[in-house]
């Protein structure tokens, strides 16, 4: 489902080149729920950005849903992101002037879905994350946990292959974190969507079926799917 082969990512620091990801090889099967863990600065976000086609590796091969990524032009990656990937961010990243359903519908808009159909699909997705009654509310009228649910609905509305979450519970209290985590787990179980989640929370990570551990830009644990 997801395959990374010898992916490298370097930054050109003034004095030397800084290898943020060093020959990372990783494969994830369809429907897996993986926690990505590791110390701060170990390259977790960089890895997620590359898998999410927001960042381009310096070398290596990337394959998502059986499709090898060959073209890295902004236009090509935008279209692939729209089709294959849903993002959830620590800071929710909801557009403040759009209502909950309009935020959720955003990926559909960039897919050319007409407005009435968008609304219908977005509201169904909002209902799935338990926010049916909040469809017309602005993000400022929602709690943090509700905002993250809206963001999860947005990530999943286009039926992507892969859900990428970078510290999705980082801004939430522990009770809300557990709720959001439970939601992600249930969506993973019901929709069969593959989830990669960066987290600092040991307890949440431990509750995930698979953990991928990074240190200094290398995967030190969990690069291969565990034999079922």
């Amino acid at each position: 489902m997801l395959r990374l082969e010898r992916i490298c990512r370097q930054y050109n620091a003034p004095a030397r080149t800084l290898a943020v990801l060093d020959t990372v090889t990783l494969s994830v099967e369809r429907g897996e729920f993986c926690a990505i863990v590791g110390p701060s600065g170990s390259g977790k976000s960089t890895l997620l950005n590359i898998i999410g086609l927001l960042d381009r590796p310096c070398s290596g091969r990337l394959e998502i849903g059986g499709e090898a990524i060959r073209s890295w032009t902004p236009h090509a990656t935008a279209s692939l992101r729209n089709r294959l990937i849903g993002f959830v961010f620590q800071s929710f990243q909801l557009l403040p002037r759009l209502t909950a359903w309009q935020n959720v519908a955003l990926p559909l808009q960039y897919r050319g879905v007409a407005r009435p159909a968008r609304r219908e699909v977005a509201e169904a997705m909002l209902a799935r994350v338990g926010l049916a009654a909040w469809s017309d509310h602005l993000p400022s009228q929602l709690s943090g946990g509700q905002c993250q649910r809206v963001a999860i609905a947005r990530a999943l509305v286009g039926q992507p292959q892969l859900l990428l979450a970078d510290e999705p519970t980082g801004s939430l209290d522990s009770a809300t974190s557990r709720e959001v985590m439970a939601l992600l787990r249930s969506l993973n179980a019901e929709l069969g969507i593959t989830v990669l989640m960066v987290t600092h929370d040991q307890e949440l990570a431990a509750s995930c079926p698979r953990q991928i551990r990074l240190r200094d830009g290398r995967i030190v644990e969990g690069s291969e799917a565990r034999a079922a």
Binding site: L54, H75, N82, R97, R111, G112, V113, A114, R154, Q159
Partner: protein
């Protein structure tokens, strides 16, 4: 429901959606948008005021030639000394024959005299025209009748509207049947003219004049021969050249000729107007430029402030084309709002110019459409750079921006 990605990048997001989003964003910007509009507003307003005042001035100047048209010359003989001067009747009659551009010539004898009716008196222009003049100028009797063909030497007079009023005392109104003392002769008033709108080429002010038959004009007009001409030229003829040719043929030994031609008068008026228009165009262009830079500034600030939004849109699949379209649409909408307001202000300024100049107010409708169109073009030009820079943002950096 189709979930396929459309092939054309411009259609990544529907245009109506983009319009709706752009509008919401502009409204959220509020006062800052309004300030940027000011330059666009003043720019389009001054251009529209310029175009419309030009349009109205054109109509006004053409009104000065409405009766006679612009293919017309007026020629007057000016005596060199005290002796009256007259033009040769045979040379006048020959003009349409010898000059192919001359269609028609109407000769008049003109002079001035004091007219008395009872106790009232008035200084009037006296004119004895060839019969065709009344038809050409559109002189008609409001009361009584015009001069008949049989009274070529009669003591009959037709008064202009103002002249009749000036000679009417509180007791006796002057009208058909009244007797008038003109240069020692008693003339009978046979009619009073309907008021005439004065025009540039009129040899006399018909409203304040007395029209007498040409045959025995000598009684009240010294010399009595024709001393003024109206010459109708072939449409499109070069009236300046024709004027020069005709003066060469007709200039009398005892005087000189003055030639007025409608085209030269119009050209002079146009030249004066052009100075005025150039000033308005300069104001308009500078304001539009300032406005355009203002729009660019607002849009660049908007791009700066909305980096996270741009990053998020990119993450959810907005292509660079869709992002450019969004910001370009905002820039164009912003400018067009200024252009619409500018059109209205421009129409208001045109109205003020018209009432200040005593013109009839008249708007050329196409100039109103020009406001939003020109402003929209400015938005397109000055919005391009901000739109391109929005589309070029690196989504990761954009998402991290605060």
């Amino acid at each position: 429901m189709t979930m396929d990605t459309p092939a054309a990048p411009w259609l990544d997001s529907h245009v109506p959606d983009t319009l709706a989003e752009a509008w919401t964003n502009l409204r959220a910007q509020g006062r800052r948008s309004a300030l940027a509009l000011l330059g666009i507003l003043i720019g389009t307003a001054s251009i529209i005021a310029m175009l419309n005042s030009g349009h109205m001035a054109q109509r006004e100047s053409l009104k000065l030639f409405a009766k006679l048209g612009i293919d017309m010359l007026q020629i007057q003989a000016v005596p060199a000394g005290d002796a009256p001067v007259a033009l040769s009747r045979t040379a006048i009659a020959a003009l349409p024959v010898v000059d192919p551009e001359v269609l028609e010539v109407i000769a008049l004898a003109t002079g001035r005299a004091t007219a008395r009716a009872g106790a009232a008196s008035a200084d009037l222009a006296i004119f004895a025209p060839a019969p065709a003049l009344a038809r050409m100028v559109g002189l008609v009797a409001a009361r009584g009748r015009m001069l008949g063909a049989a009274e070529d030497c009669a003591l009959s007079v037709v008064l202009g509207a103002d002249a009749a009023r000036a000679l009417s005392g509180p007791a006796a109104a002057v009208g058909p049947g009244s007797v008038l003392l003109l240069g020692g002769y008693g003339f009978t008033v046979v009619g009073v003219l309907a008021p005439v709108r004065p025009e540039t080429l009129d040899p006399v002010n018909y409203n304040m004049a007395a029209m007498i038959p040409p045959g025995c004009a000598r009684r009240v007009i010294p010399g009595g021969g024709p001393n003024a001409l109206l010459v109708r030229l072939q449409p499109g003829a070069d009236s300046k050249a024709a004027g020069a040719r005709i003066s060469a043929r007709l200039t009398p030994r005892e005087g000189t000729l003055t030639v007025l031609d409608a085209q030269s008068i119009l050209a002079t008026m146009q030249a004066q107007k052009a100075v005025h228009s150039r000033m308005l165009i300069a104001i308009g262009a500078v304001s539009l430029l300032v406005g355009g830079v203002g729009v660019m500034n607002v849009m660049l600030m908007s791009v700066m402030e909305r980096q996270r939004e741009i990053g998020l849109r990119a993450a959810t699949g907005a292509s660079p084309g869709a992002l450019r379209l969004l910001f370009l649409t905002e820039a164009v909408l912003l400018s067009m709002a200024g252009g619409i307001a500018g059109s209205l202000l421009g129409a208001g300024i045109s109205y003020a110019i018209a009432s200040g100049s005593g013109w009839d107010f008249d708007l050329a409708p196409w100039t109103l459409a020009l406001g939003p169109v020109v402003a929209g073009g400015m938005g397109l030009v000055f919005g391009l750079y901000p739109a391109i820079s929005a589309a070029r943002l690196n989504p990761i950096d954009a998402l991290r921006a605060d």
